[in-house]
Protein backbone atom coordinates (compact mmCIF):
# COMPACT_ATOMS: atom_id res chain seq x y z
CA UNK A 1 0.00 0.00 0.00
CA UNK A 2 2.65 2.44 1.07
CA UNK A 3 4.92 1.24 -1.72
CA UNK A 4 2.17 1.83 -4.26
CA UNK A 5 1.50 5.29 -2.92
CA UNK A 6 5.19 6.06 -3.09
CA UNK A 7 5.40 4.73 -6.64
CA UNK A 8 2.42 6.83 -7.69
CA UNK A 9 4.07 9.91 -6.29
CA UNK A 10 7.31 9.24 -8.10
CA UNK A 11 5.41 8.65 -11.33
CA UNK A 12 3.46 11.85 -10.73
CA UNK A 13 6.63 13.86 -10.22
CA UNK A 14 8.09 12.30 -13.34
CA UNK A 15 4.98 13.28 -15.31
CA UNK A 16 5.48 16.88 -14.15
CA UNK A 17 8.94 16.85 -15.73
CA UNK A 18 7.54 15.30 -18.90
CA UNK A 19 5.01 18.13 -19.03
CA UNK A 20 7.74 20.73 -18.68
CA UNK A 21 9.63 19.05 -21.49
CA UNK A 22 6.60 19.16 -23.77
CA UNK A 23 6.16 22.90 -23.35
CA UNK A 24 9.90 23.52 -23.65
CA UNK A 25 10.07 21.62 -26.93
CA UNK A 26 7.07 23.48 -28.28
CA UNK A 27 8.62 26.78 -27.19
CA UNK A 28 11.52 26.23 -29.56
CA UNK A 29 9.44 25.05 -32.51
CA UNK A 30 8.29 27.47 -35.22
CA UNK A 31 4.92 29.14 -35.00
CA UNK A 32 1.95 27.51 -36.67
CA UNK A 33 -0.44 30.44 -36.68
CA UNK A 34 -0.76 32.73 -39.68
CA UNK A 35 -0.32 36.47 -39.27
CA UNK A 36 -3.46 37.34 -41.13
CA UNK A 37 -3.16 40.78 -42.69
CA UNK A 38 0.45 40.12 -43.66
CA UNK A 39 0.20 36.43 -44.48
CA UNK A 40 -2.60 34.31 -45.81
CA UNK A 41 -3.27 30.61 -45.52
CA UNK A 42 -1.42 28.86 -48.37
CA UNK A 43 -4.01 26.24 -49.33
CA UNK A 44 -7.75 26.55 -49.07
CA UNK A 45 -8.62 23.39 -50.96
CA UNK A 46 -11.84 21.92 -49.72
CA UNK A 47 -13.00 25.19 -48.21
CA UNK A 48 -16.68 25.76 -48.91
CA UNK A 49 -17.19 29.46 -49.38
CA UNK A 50 -20.07 31.12 -51.20
CA UNK A 51 -21.19 29.61 -54.49
CA UNK A 52 -20.18 30.58 -58.01
CA UNK A 53 -21.23 29.61 -61.52
CA UNK A 54 -19.31 26.97 -63.44
CA UNK A 55 -18.44 28.06 -66.99
CA UNK A 56 -19.15 25.95 -70.05
CA UNK A 57 -16.25 23.89 -71.28
CA UNK A 58 -16.31 25.41 -74.78
CA UNK A 59 -17.10 28.99 -73.82
CA UNK A 60 -15.72 30.24 -70.50
CA UNK A 61 -17.81 33.39 -70.79
CA UNK A 62 -21.06 31.44 -70.55
CA UNK A 63 -22.30 29.51 -67.54
CA UNK A 64 -23.43 25.90 -67.64
CA UNK A 65 -26.59 27.04 -65.95
CA UNK A 66 -29.84 26.16 -67.71
CA UNK A 67 -31.84 28.59 -65.59
CA UNK A 68 -34.10 25.86 -64.28
CA UNK A 69 -34.53 27.73 -61.00
CA UNK A 70 -33.97 24.61 -58.88
CA UNK A 71 -31.30 26.29 -56.77
CA UNK A 72 -33.52 29.27 -56.03
CA UNK A 73 -36.32 26.95 -55.01
CA UNK A 74 -34.13 24.74 -52.85
CA UNK A 75 -32.49 27.61 -51.03
CA UNK A 76 -33.82 27.69 -47.45
CA UNK A 77 -32.72 31.29 -47.05
CA UNK A 78 -34.12 32.46 -50.39
CA UNK A 79 -30.91 34.22 -51.20
CA UNK A 80 -30.60 33.17 -54.84
CA UNK A 81 -32.54 35.01 -57.51
CA UNK A 82 -32.03 34.48 -61.21
CA UNK A 83 -33.67 35.71 -64.38
CA UNK A 84 -33.50 34.12 -67.79
CA UNK A 85 -34.40 35.25 -71.26
CA UNK A 86 -37.64 33.81 -72.56
CA UNK A 87 -37.13 30.63 -74.52
CA UNK A 88 -39.57 31.54 -77.38
CA UNK A 89 -37.40 34.26 -78.79
CA UNK A 90 -34.42 32.01 -78.73
CA UNK A 91 -36.33 29.23 -80.50
CA UNK A 92 -37.29 31.55 -83.33
CA UNK A 93 -33.69 32.57 -83.87
CA UNK A 94 -32.59 28.99 -83.98
CA UNK A 95 -35.17 28.20 -86.60
CA UNK A 96 -34.08 31.02 -88.81
CA UNK A 97 -30.44 30.08 -88.63
CA UNK A 98 -30.82 26.45 -89.36
CA UNK A 99 -33.30 27.11 -92.10
CA UNK A 100 -30.92 29.39 -93.97
CA UNK A 101 -28.02 27.01 -93.75
CA UNK A 102 -29.51 23.75 -94.90
CA UNK A 103 -32.61 24.80 -96.71
CA UNK A 104 -34.49 21.92 -95.18
CA UNK A 105 -37.33 22.27 -92.85
CA UNK A 106 -35.69 21.86 -89.42
CA UNK A 107 -37.18 19.88 -86.59
CA UNK A 108 -38.46 22.20 -83.89
CA UNK A 109 -35.63 22.25 -81.34
CA UNK A 110 -36.42 22.51 -77.69
CA UNK A 111 -35.28 26.02 -76.89
CA UNK A 112 -32.89 26.67 -74.06
CA UNK A 113 -33.50 29.69 -71.88
CA UNK A 114 -30.41 31.80 -71.45
CA UNK A 115 -29.33 33.07 -68.07
CA UNK A 116 -29.47 36.84 -67.86
CA UNK A 117 -28.62 37.45 -64.24
CA UNK A 118 -27.75 35.34 -61.24
CA UNK A 119 -27.71 37.23 -57.95
CA UNK A 120 -26.63 35.72 -54.65
CA UNK A 121 -27.49 37.66 -51.50
CA UNK A 122 -24.64 36.33 -49.37
CA UNK A 123 -25.93 38.21 -46.31
CA UNK A 124 -28.59 35.55 -45.84
CA UNK A 125 -26.72 32.51 -47.14
CA UNK A 126 -26.22 29.84 -44.50
CA UNK A 127 -23.74 27.88 -46.65
CA UNK A 128 -25.90 24.77 -46.48
CA UNK A 129 -24.99 23.72 -50.02
CA UNK A 130 -28.49 22.65 -51.08
CA UNK A 131 -28.13 24.60 -54.32
CA UNK A 132 -24.86 22.86 -55.27
CA UNK A 133 -26.21 19.42 -54.37
CA UNK A 134 -29.42 19.82 -56.31
CA UNK A 135 -28.17 21.49 -59.48
CA UNK A 136 -29.11 19.08 -62.32
CA UNK A 137 -26.21 20.16 -64.57
CA UNK A 138 -23.53 20.79 -61.93
CA UNK A 139 -23.47 24.44 -62.79
CA UNK A 140 -22.69 25.63 -59.26
CA UNK A 141 -19.61 25.13 -57.12
CA UNK A 142 -18.10 26.48 -53.92
CA UNK A 143 -15.46 29.18 -54.04
CA UNK A 144 -12.51 29.37 -51.69
CA UNK A 145 -13.07 33.05 -50.92
CA UNK A 146 -12.30 33.19 -47.23
CA UNK A 147 -11.02 36.74 -46.88
CA UNK A 148 -14.35 38.51 -47.16
CA UNK A 149 -14.92 41.65 -45.17
CA UNK A 150 -16.85 44.78 -45.94
CA UNK A 151 -18.59 47.77 -44.50
CA UNK A 152 -22.04 47.52 -46.13
CA UNK A 153 -24.60 44.88 -46.90
CA UNK A 154 -24.59 45.83 -50.57
CA UNK A 155 -21.04 44.54 -50.87
CA UNK A 156 -22.28 41.03 -50.22
CA UNK A 157 -24.93 40.94 -52.89
CA UNK A 158 -22.92 39.17 -55.55
CA UNK A 159 -23.71 39.24 -59.26
CA UNK A 160 -22.36 35.81 -60.08
CA UNK A 161 -22.72 36.17 -63.85
CA UNK A 162 -20.55 39.27 -63.85
CA UNK A 163 -18.12 37.43 -61.60
CA UNK A 164 -17.89 34.57 -64.06
CA UNK A 165 -17.18 36.95 -66.91
CA UNK A 166 -14.57 38.82 -64.88
CA UNK A 167 -12.82 35.56 -64.05
CA UNK A 168 -12.83 34.53 -67.71
CA UNK A 169 -11.39 37.89 -68.71
CA UNK A 170 -8.72 37.64 -66.05
CA UNK A 171 -7.76 34.17 -67.21
CA UNK A 172 -7.34 35.38 -70.77
CA UNK A 173 -5.02 38.12 -69.62
Amino acid sequence: MIVKKFNDTIMGLWSLLVGLKVTAVNFTRPQITVHYPRQTVPSLEGYRGHIELVPQDEDPLKPKCIACNTCARMCPSSCISLTASKPKKKAAEDKECSGEESGEKPKPKKAKPELESFVLDYNYCSLCGQCVQNCPVDALRYTSDVYLAGFTRQEFVFDLLARLQDQAAQKEQ
Partner: protein, 323 residues
Protein backbone atom coordinates in the same frame (compact mmCIF):
# COMPACT_ATOMS: atom_id res chain seq x y z
CA UNK B 1 17.61 72.50 7.31
CA UNK B 2 18.96 69.43 5.60
CA UNK B 3 20.89 68.49 8.72
CA UNK B 4 17.57 68.19 10.54
CA UNK B 5 16.56 65.25 8.32
CA UNK B 6 18.17 62.08 9.60
CA UNK B 7 20.23 60.23 7.01
CA UNK B 8 18.43 56.87 7.37
CA UNK B 9 15.20 58.62 6.46
CA UNK B 10 16.75 60.00 3.28
CA UNK B 11 18.15 56.57 2.44
CA UNK B 12 14.78 54.92 2.97
CA UNK B 13 12.91 57.54 0.94
CA UNK B 14 15.32 57.30 -1.97
CA UNK B 15 15.28 53.52 -1.65
CA UNK B 16 11.49 53.39 -1.71
CA UNK B 17 11.38 55.61 -4.79
CA UNK B 18 13.95 53.41 -6.51
CA UNK B 19 12.00 50.32 -5.45
CA UNK B 20 8.81 51.74 -6.88
CA UNK B 21 10.53 52.35 -10.19
CA UNK B 22 12.04 48.87 -10.07
CA UNK B 23 8.66 47.27 -9.39
CA UNK B 24 7.01 49.19 -12.22
CA UNK B 25 9.75 48.35 -14.69
CA UNK B 26 9.77 44.72 -13.63
CA UNK B 27 6.01 44.48 -14.05
CA UNK B 28 6.30 45.81 -17.61
CA UNK B 29 9.09 43.38 -18.47
CA UNK B 30 7.33 40.45 -16.81
CA UNK B 31 4.00 41.10 -18.49
CA UNK B 32 5.77 41.15 -21.83
CA UNK B 33 7.81 38.04 -21.00
CA UNK B 34 4.77 36.21 -19.69
CA UNK B 35 2.71 36.84 -22.80
CA UNK B 36 5.57 36.14 -25.18
CA UNK B 37 6.46 32.88 -23.44
CA UNK B 38 2.79 31.89 -23.42
CA UNK B 39 2.63 32.64 -27.13
CA UNK B 40 5.73 30.70 -27.99
CA UNK B 41 4.70 27.70 -25.90
CA UNK B 42 1.35 27.70 -27.72
CA UNK B 43 3.14 28.11 -31.08
CA UNK B 44 1.83 31.63 -31.79
CA UNK B 45 3.61 34.99 -31.88
CA UNK B 46 2.20 36.54 -28.69
CA UNK B 47 1.92 40.35 -28.54
CA UNK B 48 2.98 41.66 -31.94
CA UNK B 49 1.17 44.80 -32.97
CA UNK B 50 2.21 47.54 -30.51
CA UNK B 51 5.78 48.53 -31.27
CA UNK B 52 8.42 46.26 -32.80
CA UNK B 53 7.63 42.65 -31.79
CA UNK B 54 4.91 44.03 -29.53
CA UNK B 55 7.43 45.39 -27.06
CA UNK B 56 5.21 48.35 -26.14
CA UNK B 57 2.20 46.14 -25.37
CA UNK B 58 2.61 46.32 -21.55
CA UNK B 59 2.83 50.11 -21.78
CA UNK B 60 -0.39 50.19 -23.76
CA UNK B 61 -2.02 47.86 -21.22
CA UNK B 62 -0.86 50.07 -18.36
CA UNK B 63 -2.17 53.22 -20.03
CA UNK B 64 -5.50 51.51 -20.62
CA UNK B 65 -5.71 50.56 -16.94
CA UNK B 66 -4.85 54.09 -15.81
CA UNK B 67 -7.45 55.53 -18.16
CA UNK B 68 -10.30 53.35 -16.91
CA UNK B 69 -13.07 54.52 -14.68
CA UNK B 70 -12.56 53.91 -10.99
CA UNK B 71 -15.73 52.26 -9.84
CA UNK B 72 -16.98 51.17 -6.43
CA UNK B 73 -19.75 48.57 -6.53
CA UNK B 74 -23.02 49.22 -4.68
CA UNK B 75 -23.00 47.79 -1.21
CA UNK B 76 -19.22 47.62 -1.04
CA UNK B 77 -17.40 48.91 2.01
CA UNK B 78 -15.89 51.98 0.40
CA UNK B 79 -12.98 52.48 2.78
CA UNK B 80 -11.87 48.87 3.01
CA UNK B 81 -12.50 48.36 -0.67
CA UNK B 82 -9.97 51.00 -1.67
CA UNK B 83 -7.63 50.23 1.20
CA UNK B 84 -7.11 46.66 0.02
CA UNK B 85 -5.06 47.34 -3.12
CA UNK B 86 -2.83 49.71 -1.17
CA UNK B 87 -2.31 47.19 1.61
CA UNK B 88 -1.47 44.68 -1.06
CA UNK B 89 1.27 46.69 -2.73
CA UNK B 90 2.79 48.60 0.21
CA UNK B 91 4.44 45.59 1.95
CA UNK B 92 5.98 44.58 -1.38
CA UNK B 93 7.84 47.88 -1.39
CA UNK B 94 9.19 47.28 2.08
CA UNK B 95 10.39 43.80 1.16
CA UNK B 96 12.74 45.20 -1.45
CA UNK B 97 14.45 47.39 1.17
CA UNK B 98 16.14 44.41 2.79
CA UNK B 99 17.18 42.57 -0.36
CA UNK B 100 20.91 42.72 -1.16
CA UNK B 101 21.02 43.19 -4.93
CA UNK B 102 24.80 43.44 -4.97
CA UNK B 103 27.77 43.69 -2.64
CA UNK B 104 27.13 47.43 -2.26
CA UNK B 105 23.56 47.61 -3.44
CA UNK B 106 21.31 47.17 -0.46
CA UNK B 107 19.05 49.81 1.02
CA UNK B 108 18.94 48.58 4.62
CA UNK B 109 21.39 45.97 5.84
CA UNK B 110 19.47 44.65 8.78
CA UNK B 111 19.95 41.63 11.00
CA UNK B 112 16.35 40.59 10.59
CA UNK B 113 16.13 40.92 6.81
CA UNK B 114 14.65 37.48 6.26
CA UNK B 115 12.10 37.89 9.03
CA UNK B 116 11.17 41.30 7.69
CA UNK B 117 10.45 39.87 4.25
CA UNK B 118 8.51 36.89 5.64
CA UNK B 119 6.46 39.16 7.88
CA UNK B 120 5.62 41.71 5.24
CA UNK B 121 4.75 39.20 2.54
CA UNK B 122 2.28 37.75 5.02
CA UNK B 123 0.34 41.03 5.02
CA UNK B 124 -0.67 40.41 1.42
CA UNK B 125 -3.09 37.75 2.65
CA UNK B 126 -4.83 40.37 4.74
CA UNK B 127 -5.15 42.62 1.70
CA UNK B 128 -6.75 39.89 -0.40
CA UNK B 129 -9.03 39.00 2.50
CA UNK B 130 -10.18 42.61 2.84
CA UNK B 131 -10.62 42.92 -0.91
CA UNK B 132 -12.80 39.83 -1.02
CA UNK B 133 -14.83 40.86 1.98
CA UNK B 134 -15.35 44.49 1.00
CA UNK B 135 -16.33 43.76 -2.60
CA UNK B 136 -19.81 42.51 -1.65
CA UNK B 137 -19.47 39.81 -4.26
CA UNK B 138 -19.71 36.08 -3.78
CA UNK B 139 -16.89 35.28 -6.18
CA UNK B 140 -14.59 37.75 -4.49
CA UNK B 141 -15.46 36.33 -1.09
CA UNK B 142 -14.85 32.76 -2.21
CA UNK B 143 -11.54 33.81 -3.74
CA UNK B 144 -10.49 35.49 -0.53
CA UNK B 145 -11.49 32.46 1.54
CA UNK B 146 -9.46 30.21 -0.71
CA UNK B 147 -6.51 32.54 -0.57
CA UNK B 148 -6.47 32.56 3.21
CA UNK B 149 -6.58 28.80 3.66
CA UNK B 150 -3.99 28.40 0.93
CA UNK B 151 -1.62 31.01 2.33
CA UNK B 152 -1.94 29.82 5.90
CA UNK B 153 -1.23 26.25 4.83
CA UNK B 154 1.74 27.04 2.63
CA UNK B 155 3.33 29.46 5.06
CA UNK B 156 4.28 26.49 7.27
CA UNK B 157 6.40 24.47 4.82
CA UNK B 158 7.81 27.75 3.54
CA UNK B 159 9.17 28.61 6.96
CA UNK B 160 10.23 25.03 7.65
CA UNK B 161 12.24 24.95 4.44
CA UNK B 162 14.01 28.19 5.33
CA UNK B 163 14.96 27.03 8.82
CA UNK B 164 17.73 24.59 7.74
CA UNK B 165 19.47 27.47 5.97
CA UNK B 166 19.13 29.60 9.10
CA UNK B 167 20.63 26.81 11.22
CA UNK B 168 23.49 26.37 8.77
CA UNK B 169 24.34 30.06 8.59
CA UNK B 170 23.23 31.13 12.03
CA UNK B 171 21.89 34.46 10.80
CA UNK B 172 18.77 36.17 9.47
CA UNK B 173 20.86 38.75 7.66
CA UNK B 174 20.29 38.27 3.94
CA UNK B 175 23.60 39.88 3.04
CA UNK B 176 25.49 37.45 5.27
CA UNK B 177 23.57 34.49 3.91
CA UNK B 178 24.36 35.53 0.34
CA UNK B 179 28.03 36.24 0.97
CA UNK B 180 28.36 33.08 3.07
CA UNK B 181 28.02 31.04 -0.09
CA UNK B 182 30.83 30.59 -2.56
CA UNK B 183 31.08 31.93 -6.07
CA UNK B 184 30.69 28.59 -7.82
CA UNK B 185 27.39 26.70 -8.20
CA UNK B 186 28.61 23.73 -6.12
CA UNK B 187 29.21 26.08 -3.20
CA UNK B 188 25.63 27.30 -3.14
CA UNK B 189 23.16 26.09 -0.54
CA UNK B 190 21.01 24.41 -3.19
CA UNK B 191 23.65 21.64 -3.22
CA UNK B 192 23.34 21.13 0.55
CA UNK B 193 19.58 21.64 0.67
CA UNK B 194 18.02 20.49 -2.61
CA UNK B 195 14.83 19.32 -0.92
CA UNK B 196 14.44 22.60 0.94
CA UNK B 197 14.91 24.43 -2.36
CA UNK B 198 12.15 22.45 -4.07
CA UNK B 199 9.78 22.87 -1.14
CA UNK B 200 10.55 26.56 -0.87
CA UNK B 201 9.98 27.13 -4.57
CA UNK B 202 6.66 25.27 -4.58
CA UNK B 203 5.53 27.22 -1.53
CA UNK B 204 6.65 30.46 -3.15
CA UNK B 205 4.46 29.63 -6.15
CA UNK B 206 1.54 28.97 -3.85
CA UNK B 207 2.14 32.09 -1.74
CA UNK B 208 2.28 34.32 -4.80
CA UNK B 209 -0.91 32.71 -6.16
CA UNK B 210 0.81 31.58 -9.31
CA UNK B 211 -0.31 28.69 -11.46
CA UNK B 212 -0.83 25.83 -10.73
CA UNK B 213 -1.89 27.24 -7.35
CA UNK B 214 -3.86 30.27 -8.54
CA UNK B 215 -7.12 29.19 -6.95
CA UNK B 216 -7.95 32.60 -5.44
CA UNK B 217 -8.35 33.97 -8.95
CA UNK B 218 -9.42 30.83 -10.80
CA UNK B 219 -11.00 32.32 -13.90
CA UNK B 220 -13.10 29.34 -14.81
CA UNK B 221 -14.76 29.10 -11.41
CA UNK B 222 -14.57 32.52 -9.77
CA UNK B 223 -14.43 34.89 -12.79
CA UNK B 224 -11.44 36.71 -11.29
CA UNK B 225 -11.57 35.77 -7.63
CA UNK B 226 -10.84 38.45 -5.09
CA UNK B 227 -10.34 41.22 -7.66
CA UNK B 228 -13.54 40.56 -9.62
CA UNK B 229 -15.01 43.95 -8.76
CA UNK B 230 -11.90 46.07 -9.13
CA UNK B 231 -11.55 48.25 -12.18
CA UNK B 232 -8.76 50.42 -13.51
CA UNK B 233 -5.82 50.94 -11.23
CA UNK B 234 -7.51 49.13 -8.33
CA UNK B 235 -6.97 45.97 -10.32
CA UNK B 236 -3.69 47.40 -11.58
CA UNK B 237 -2.31 47.63 -8.06
CA UNK B 238 -3.17 44.01 -7.30
CA UNK B 239 -1.56 43.11 -10.56
CA UNK B 240 1.58 45.09 -9.75
CA UNK B 241 1.65 43.56 -6.28
CA UNK B 242 1.40 40.05 -7.68
CA UNK B 243 4.37 40.61 -9.94
CA UNK B 244 6.26 42.38 -7.15
CA UNK B 245 5.76 39.38 -4.86
CA UNK B 246 6.91 37.09 -7.64
CA UNK B 247 10.09 39.11 -7.86
CA UNK B 248 10.49 39.10 -4.06
CA UNK B 249 10.04 35.33 -3.98
CA UNK B 250 12.61 34.87 -6.73
CA UNK B 251 15.02 37.24 -4.97
CA UNK B 252 14.75 35.35 -1.69
CA UNK B 253 15.19 32.02 -3.48
CA UNK B 254 18.25 33.37 -5.25
CA UNK B 255 19.74 34.65 -2.00
CA UNK B 256 18.99 31.58 0.11
CA UNK B 257 19.82 28.85 -2.36
CA UNK B 258 21.62 30.24 -5.39
CA UNK B 259 24.39 32.37 -3.95
CA UNK B 260 22.68 35.74 -4.33
CA UNK B 261 24.93 38.22 -6.12
CA UNK B 262 27.87 35.84 -6.26
CA UNK B 263 28.87 34.39 -9.59
CA UNK B 264 31.85 32.50 -10.97
CA UNK B 265 33.22 35.62 -12.68
CA UNK B 266 32.74 39.23 -11.68
CA UNK B 267 30.25 38.98 -8.81
CA UNK B 268 27.72 41.76 -8.76
CA UNK B 269 24.13 42.77 -9.16
CA UNK B 270 24.06 41.43 -12.74
CA UNK B 271 24.44 37.89 -11.43
CA UNK B 272 21.64 38.50 -8.99
CA UNK B 273 19.33 39.86 -11.68
CA UNK B 274 20.19 36.97 -14.00
CA UNK B 275 19.34 34.41 -11.32
CA UNK B 276 16.13 36.20 -10.40
CA UNK B 277 15.03 36.35 -14.02
CA UNK B 278 15.83 32.69 -14.60
CA UNK B 279 13.64 31.82 -11.61
CA UNK B 280 10.89 34.10 -12.90
CA UNK B 281 11.09 32.45 -16.31
CA UNK B 282 10.76 29.06 -14.64
CA UNK B 283 7.65 30.35 -12.83
CA UNK B 284 6.20 31.51 -16.14
CA UNK B 285 7.16 28.23 -17.78
CA UNK B 286 5.39 26.32 -15.00
CA UNK B 287 2.31 28.51 -15.36
CA UNK B 288 1.88 27.67 -19.03
CA UNK B 289 2.58 23.97 -18.51
CA UNK B 290 0.35 22.80 -15.69
CA UNK B 291 -3.39 22.98 -15.21
CA UNK B 292 -4.77 24.42 -11.99
CA UNK B 293 -4.94 21.94 -9.09
CA UNK B 294 -8.18 21.24 -7.28
CA UNK B 295 -8.56 22.71 -3.82
CA UNK B 296 -8.37 19.41 -1.92
CA UNK B 297 -5.31 18.47 -3.98
CA UNK B 298 -3.74 21.81 -3.12
CA UNK B 299 -4.15 21.26 0.60
CA UNK B 300 -3.19 17.59 0.37
CA UNK B 301 0.09 18.47 -1.31
CA UNK B 302 0.82 20.87 1.51
CA UNK B 303 -0.26 18.90 4.58
CA UNK B 304 0.57 15.37 3.43
CA UNK B 305 3.77 15.96 1.51
CA UNK B 306 5.42 19.32 1.91
CA UNK B 307 5.13 19.74 5.66
CA UNK B 308 6.30 16.20 6.59
CA UNK B 309 9.12 16.44 4.05
CA UNK B 310 10.14 19.86 5.33
CA UNK B 311 10.15 18.61 8.92
CA UNK B 312 12.16 15.56 7.91
CA UNK B 313 14.62 17.75 6.06
CA UNK B 314 14.94 20.05 9.05
CA UNK B 315 15.56 17.16 11.45
CA UNK B 316 18.23 15.63 9.20
CA UNK B 317 19.93 19.01 8.89
CA UNK B 318 19.85 19.48 12.66
CA UNK B 319 21.34 16.01 13.19
CA UNK B 320 24.13 16.70 10.73
CA UNK B 321 24.87 20.06 12.33
CA UNK B 322 24.84 18.52 15.84
CA UNK B 323 27.25 15.76 14.81
Amino acid sequence: MIEAIPIPLIVISVGLAATLAFIGLNALVLVYLERKVAGFIQRRPGPYEVGPQGILQPVADGLKLVGKQIFTPTGADRVLYWLAPMISIAPALVCFLAIPFGPHLQIINTNVGLILILAFTGINVLALCIAGWASQNKYALLGAARDISQSVAYEIPLLLSILPIIFMTGTFNLFDIASGQGAWPWQWYIVYQPLAFVIFFICALAETNRNPFDLPEAESELTAGFHTEYSGMGFGMFFLAEYAYMVVASCVTAILFLGGFQGPVASGWWWFLAKVYILLLIMIWIRWTYPRVRFDQLLNICWKWLIPLAVFNLLVTLLVIAI
